[in-house]
Amino acid sequence: MSWLHGLRYAARSLLRFGRFAQERREEAEFHREMEADRLRREGLPDAAARLAADAAFGWPPATERDLRWYLETFTSDLRLAVRTLRRSPLHVTTVVMSAAGAVAIATMVASILGALFVRPLPFRDSERLVVAWQTDSLRPQGFNVSLPNFRDWAARTTTFAAMAAWSQRTGAIADDRADARPAHLVEVTGDFFRVLGAQPMLGRALDVDDEKRDDLVVVLSHRLWHAMFGGDSTVPGRRILVNGNATTVIGVMPPDVRYPPTGDLWISWPHDRQQYLPRNAITQQVVARLADGMSFEQALAELDAVARSLAAEHPVRSQNQATGALVRPLREELFGRERPLLVLLGAGIAFVLLVACLNLACAGLARALDRVPDLDVRTALGAPRWRLLQSAGAEALVLAVTSSTLALLAAPWMTAFVWRQSAFASMQSAHPRVGVGGGMLAVLLSSGIMAATVLWPAWHVSRARRRLVGLTRQRVVGTRSRASSILVGVQVAMATLLLVGAGLAARSTLRLLAEPRGFDASRVLTVGLRMPHLPPARAARLSAALLDSVRAIPGVTAVGAVNHLPLTADAGRSPRAASAIVAHTAAGPVTDGEVGAGFHAVDGEYFTAMRIPVQRGRAFTASDDADAPRAAVISESMARRFWANEDALGRTFEVFGADSRLASQQLVVVGVVGDVRTTSLEQESLPDYYVSYAQGIGNVWHRYLVIRTAGDPSRLVPAVRQAIRAADPQVAMEFATMEHRLARSLVRWLLAGATLGTVAVIGLVVVLLGVYGVVAYTVTARRREIGLRIALGATPAGVQASVLRSVARLVVPGVAAGVAGALALGNVLQQLVFELSPRDPVVLTVATLAIGVAALAAAFVPARRATRIDPNEVLRA
C-alpha cells in the first residue's frame, strides 16, 4: 500500500514540477516569516530577526544556493573580464585578430581538404566507382581502350555491376537563336549514368536503349544549361546542333554531377558509327561500378586476365608486350594529383597556427605577470586559487567567443575565395562548404587557443607564485623569462623549418621557370578554332585560307597552326597517349622503350611563329601536299633516341595508334627541330614528331592558330576575330596569349611557392616580434643589474654584447633544431622540389642566416637601450 502512495506522490511531483516548486517556495517563505515574527516578539530588531530566521531555515537549499552564487560570481567575472579587456584594446585586437585569422585559415583548409578527400563524391556509393585502363610494357601507367575491347570487357567480367565507356571531344554547339559556342562533348555508352548513379534534375538520363536509336540525344550539364538556356526548365525536347548534327536534349544534370570534370554535355553514340570503330582505335576511357561484395583486387585480377586473353585473340602489329589492365578508384583519378600540394599547404597552415599560438601564449604570459600585484591583493583578501583561475577563464571565454565568431564569419567567404582563385575550381565535382564540422572545428580551435594563451599563463603564474611566496617579484620575472625563452626557441625552430620549405619551393619554381622550354611564348597570340559544322574537305580549305588572311593583318609576323599547344593540358588528352613508333634504322627496325612519341599536326609557319629552331633539314613547305610522300619533322631527342649514330634525315618510321590516316604509312624524316617541353616543365623532353595538316593528317575540325606579333599580342584580337568571322561566321573561337596559357599550367607551382612564401614571411615576422618582446622584457627586468654593472665600469659595448649573447643562447639552439627537423623531414619536403635536393645546402644556409640576422636585428634595439641605462636613476629607485 505504502509503495503505491509513494508512486502517486512521486508522479504528482514530477507531473506538476513547476507548481510543486512554487508551493515549496511559498511554504518556505511562510515559515521564515513566522519565525521572524516570533523572534521579533522576543525582542530582536527587525533586520536581525529576518537574518536569523533565514539562517536557521538554511534556505535556499545548499545546491541551489551554490549554483546561484556560482552564476553570480561568474557573471561578475565576465563583466570584469570585459572591462579589463576594454582597457587594453591593442592587446585584445592582436589576440582576437590573430586567433580568428589562424582559425579561419585552418577551417578553410580543413573544408577544402574535406571536400576533396573525405566527403563522398556526388554519386551514389561513390567509393565503389573505379576507372579502368589498358596497360602494356610501354605504357604501364595505362591508356585508352578501343570500343570493341570495351564491349568484351563488359561482357566477360563478373566483378563489375556495370561498366561504361566515354570519350571526350572538342566541338561546337548551337541552337537556332544563339551563335556557335565551343564545348567539350562527352560521347558516352548507354550505361554511363547508371554506372555513376546520377539522377537528372530535368528530363531523363541517357540509358541503354538510346544506343539503338538512329538519331542523337544529349544530356546537358548544369553549367551549359545555365549559360546557353538561362536555366529554362522547358529545355528537354528542344533540338540543338552539336558539331552541325541535329540532336534532341533529353535531360539536364544537377550542378554536382561533373564527370569528366571538363565536360559540357553528354551525347549518345550514333548507332551506325559504333560499327566502324576498329580494335586499334584506342579512344575510350572506362568508368565502372564494382559489383556488390567484390573487392577492388578481385576486379583488378579479373579485368587483367580478360585483357590478356583479348590481346591473344586479336594480335596487333605492335612490339608492345604484356597487355593487361589497371583499375583505380575514381576519387584517386580525380584528385590524386593534388594531394601532395594540399597536404603540404595544410602542414604550412598548421605551422602558422602553432607559431601564432605560441606567440599569443607569450603575450598572455607577459600579461599574467603584469597582474601579479593584483593577484597578490586578491589572494591576501582570501580569494582561493581556483577563483583567480576562474576570472582568467572568463577572460578566455570572452576572447574565444569573439574570435570564433569572427572566424566563423570569415571562413566560408575565404573558402569560396580561395576555391575560385585556385586551380581546384576546375575540378568542380567537389564543392567545399564550411559545414557543421568546420564550425565545430573553429570553435574548438578558438577555445584551445584561448585556453593556451590565457588560462595556461594564469595557471603557470599562480603556480609560480605559490612556490615563490614571500620572494621578490624579480624571481617571478625570472620564471617568465625561462618559460618564454623556451617558447621563442620553439618558434625559431619552426620558422627555420618554414623558411627552408619556402626556400626550396621558391628555388624550384625559379628553376622551373628558367627551364628551357624550346619555344618562345612572348608576343604569341593563340586562337582555339572549332568548325565541326563543315564537311572535312571544306574545314581543311577554310583552315588553310585562314592562315593567309591572318598573315595579312598588319603587325602579324608569322602564323601557324597546331593540334595541341605545348605545356597546356587540353581536356586531358595527352598527345602522347596513344601512339607507338617503329623506326627504320641502318641496323633494322627499332621501337620505343619506356614512352611513346608525341604526335603533333602542324600547318603554316608553326616553327617560325613559336621560334622552334630547325637544326637540320627543313620545315614543311608548300611541296608537302596531299600527293607528296608523307613527311615528318622530328625533335632532336627523337633523332637521338632512334638514329643516334647516323643522320636521321631521309630515314623512315611507322606510327601505331595516333591517327588512323597514318596507319601502315611510312613517314620520311625531312627535318630535325629543337626539343620542346610539350607535356610538362618538370619532365625532360621526350621524342616528338610533327606531321603536316596539309597532307590530310590530323583532326580537321579543331586546331589552334599560333600568331607571332610585332607588338602586344592581345591588341590584335579584334582584327583576328574579324578576319575569321569574314571567312566563316560560324567558326567557334577562343583567344588567349601563349603566356597566359603557360601561367595557367604553372599555377600549381606558383600557388605552392606563393603560399609557402607568404606563410614563411608571416612566420618570420611573428618570430621577430617574439624575440624582440622577450629581449625587451629581459632588459627591463635587468635594469638594476645592468645599471650596477655600468656603475662598476662595464663598457656600453660589453653591455650590448651580454644582451646579444643572451639572444644567441635562445636562437642558436632553435635554428639548430629547425635545421635538424628539415634534414629529418627530407622525404616530405621532396614534394616541393624540382631538380633539387630537399637538403639543398644553399637553401639551408640562406634560411639559417636569415633567421640569425633577423633575430639579431630584433635584439639590437633593446640591446642599444640597455647601454643607455643611467646607473644613478635605476640604483636610487
Binding site: 500500500m1 505504502s2 503505491l4 502512495h5 509513494g6 506522490y9 512521486a10 508551493e23 515549496r24 511559498e26 511554504e27 518556505a28 511562510f30 515559515h31 516569516e33 513566522m34 519565525e35 516570533r38 536557521a56 531555515f57 538554511g58 534556505w59 537549499p61
Partner: protein
C-alpha cells in the same frame, strides 16, 4: 545552545506524527510546538523538517492541503491519515520499549551480595 541537540534516528518522525495527532498543523507550527513542548531543549532543523514531511507524505502517513491561518495567511497544513495514526501507535510502542531498555541500562540494579 540546544539547537545542535542530536536527535535519535527516527525520533523526528515520531515527534511530527505526535504533534499532528490532535489537529492539523503547518510546518512552522510543528517546529514551534516541538520547541515549546520540549522546554526549548529540542529544536528542529528546518531542513530536516521538510525532508521528513516529504518522507511521511510519500509513505502515506500524512497528507497536506492549503488552508488559511487564523491571522489570514495561506499555509500548507499537514494532517494525519488513518494509516498515520496506526503508525503513530506503533512508533510510540517502539519508543516506550526503547526508553524502558535505556533506563534499565543506565540504572543497573546492583547485584545482590
Amino acid at each position: 545552545m540546544a539547537t545542535d541537540t542530536a536527535m535519535l534516528q527516527g525520533t523526528l518522525d515520531l515527534l511530527i506524527l505526535q504533534t499532528l495527532a490532535p489537529s492539523p498543523q503547518h510546518g512552522w507550527g510543528i517546529t514551534d510546538h516541538i520547541r515549546r513542548g520540549s522546554g526549548e531543549v529540542m529544536r528542529v532543523n528546518q531542513g530536516s523538517l521538510y525532508v521528513a514531511l516529504d518522507r511521511l507524505q510519500r509513505r502515506g502517513w500524512i497528507v497536506s492541503d492549503w488552508r488559511v491561518t487564523p491571522n489570514g495567511r495561506r499555509a500548507r497544513y499537514y494532517s494525519l491519515t488513518t494509516e498515520g495514526r496506526r503508525q503513530l501507535a506503533a512508533e510510540r510502542r517502539k519508543w516506550e520499549r526503547t526508553v524502558a531498555a535505556m533506563t534499565l541500562l543506565l540504572n543497573p540494579v546492583p547485584p545482590r551480595p
